[in-house]
Symmetry: C2
Subunit: 392 residues, 2 copies
């Protein structure tokens, strides 16, 4: 049995462009907010986990956890860098949970960070493509092209139309308008997105257009993870990390049994739900990894919320809207809150913590939020981390 | 209390040049050796931790743990990438230990890997300099120049001479001659190293010469970490991970209280010895992080084996030789076994496992080896991991 774990504090920077801040300043900002939010002092932190993918290449900085410890004036702590591509954030949270669960420490700071703006776009794309299978990458395949091929197959098999993809964008942009931390705060309409005039929504990789893809963002998000037994010492409403899991799939998308199934997500969410001893039906709110609009739909199925091929119907019916039965991506998701890759998995859990505490402001989900779910994809879902949080 | 942890298997590739092998093939080779050595099957592996620093930049590959799981045909395992600069290997071992200690799994594979050859030397140097403090890096300071300044101060304060540095090289090259896995297998004499003819041993950063610096290597090393209660199911002589620790120092070497003191190492080794409940005096063999000859000497003091400023005298007296009282770097160390950075922290523990089992062949330490110590430095010792292993 694992020792019980809670989130007692969280914080994040605004996601977007931070030309005037270094990656160190971004980490420090979200970390200090989380420390304050947890009602602890820096000296209570016994371990620092930093999730990041690109700082060595884009910001010329390695040893980020070490840098953050130095900034916080902490010299007898665990410092650990976690790198699992676009799932680095989720991975860092899981590592911190295990450090606490193992009894090695009681209080851990997890920060996910990325500073991607200001670098040439093709450099960023090439670096992200290091997550791909060499045989596929050597054909020039990047994440957007994989997502486009995935979408085509999905459309053919399940009857999904471009309108459905646009519905994800409309919903997530609308949610992000209510989120002061979001990168993109701009309402869009179905008509604009589906206009014949390509200039407003140009093709990235057919059938995916610009508004089907997440932006390139800067940002940092932090959590304070604490053993449940100590949590009540610091805060009245610790949020319980009830379950987590990870699944792995073949690196080569071309080698997968069924390309339209996110097998690693199925495994990850099964593990998380089993550990939490709850079912997908009980979840009140979810943050999914919508790096591309199609992924939100496919993930809503493979996480167990809707039958395979029925996700876009739930979307169409408003079930996943902010006022629906199962709001998905109230934060705006990767699509509109933004996707500083190493920060994303942590930011998802920051949003869910706020939702569970009833602190999400204008985007607070209406129903009485008790149970929340997130998933964070590494590569093109070649590995996935899933989390279940609960209010008690 | 942490759950007790053991090493039940280990393996490594030869360190050196591997032009004909991909980084994936290197990981797979050492991993399969460790799995075989542990008398387990692939299916027993529940978690894969990979320590690496440079694969994204030099080998265009991210998600290494995911890649390794895929190669091993494992899809419901933990996959985690650990990145802590030149201490990525030690960090990966510590993370695996916590995963087992937390009861989350019983058997974890840790692989440290780096493929650095075949890339331009200045590219490698620039990437390694991402571990430095920005203010120092912007002055053009690299790891060799920091080590050179450290050496000058040390010489001035403690009376160390170039002859002592050369003694480290002679000893470690001699040990590596007995290690079939070593990168550099070439005997050198004091006379050659101290020759006035600079062409044989050119200056890198005065007073450090070529033979004071570790080579740039390819290589992979793996361990199987297992809960002690399960270990005996697989092997007769599990090696106990009795203690581990990590210390952190200021990133800026210029900001440290006393530049000649490796404060992070002191903290790390204190923690490791405390956890193991033994003292430095009891250690029979040690693998230290001699990326530069001066570091072996300074570390032998700050780990607690010799008084500050007395390390080079112990070396001179043969105490740290293969047949001495406390053999240091029987493997040849980073200096001669080689330093594929992400692999080093794991390779040190592979060597100590072999020494504790009495399987180190021609370089087997004579005394009855019961207790062993290693340390792995991140950056210029801005964070350090230390381990204590015992035979029972």
């Amino acid at each position: 049995m694992l020792r019980k774990i809670a989130i007692i504090g969280c914080g994040m920077t605004k996601f977007g462009k931070h030309e005037d801040k270094t990656i160190t300043e971004l980490m420090l900002e979200s970390s200090l907010k989380a420390i304050e939010d947890a009602c602890i002092s820096e000296k209570d932190v016994e371990a620092i986990y930093v999730g990041n993918m690109l700082a060595q290449a884009l910001n010329k900085q390695s040893l980020l956890a070490n840098v953050l410890a130095d900034q916080l004036g902490l010299y007898n702590v665990i410092v650990e860098g976690v790198s699992n591509g676009t799932a680095s954030g989720g991975s860092a949270v899981r590592s911190a949970c295990l450090a606490v669960a193992s009894n090695f420490c009681d209080v851990a700071l997890v920060t996910g960070v990325e500073k991607m703006r200001g670098s040439p776009r093709d450099k960023v794309t090439s670096l992200l493509a290091t997550m791909n299978y060499p045989i596929e990458r050597e054909q020039g395949i990047t994440l957007p092209s994989l997502a486009a091929m995935f979408t085509r197959l999905y459309m053919k098999r399940y009857g999904l139309k471009r309108e459905h993809l646009a519905l994800v964008t409309v919903k997530n942009h609308s949610n992000a308008l209510k989120n002061p931390y979001a990168h993109i705060r701009k309402a869009v309409t179905l008509e604009e997105l589906l206009s014949e005039d390509n200039s407003k929504n140009p093709v990235v990789a057919d059938p995916l257009r610009l508004y089907d893809c997440c932006p390139i963002s800067d940002g940092s998000a932090s959590l304070i993870i604490c053993s449940l037994e100590k949590a009540k010492k610091f805060v009245d409403t610790p949020i319980i990390v009830k379950g987590f899991g990870q699944g792995v799939d073949k690196m080569g998308v071309c080698e997968r049994e069924d390309v339209t199934v996110l097998k690693a997500l199925r495994e990850a969410s099964n593990q998380a739900f089993k550990m939490a001893k709850i079912t997908p039906k009980e979840i009140d709110v979810a943050e999914l990894h919508d790096a591309f609009t199609i992924l939100e739909i496919a993930e809503s199925e493979d996480a167990g919320f809707f039958k395979k091929g029925m996700g876009y119907k739930a979307l169409e019916d408003g079930i996943t809207s902010l006022d629906g039965e199962l709001p998905i991506n109230p934060s705006g998701g990767l699509k509109a809150r933004g996707h500083p890759v190493g920060a994303t998995g942590v930011a998802q859990l920051v949003e869910l913590t706020w939702q569970l505490r009833g602190e999400a402001g204008a985007r607070q989900v209406n129903n009485n939020v008790e149970k929340a779910f997130s998933c964070n994809l590494g590569g093109f879902a070649s590995n996935v981390l899933a989390f279940v949080l609960t209010r008690s």
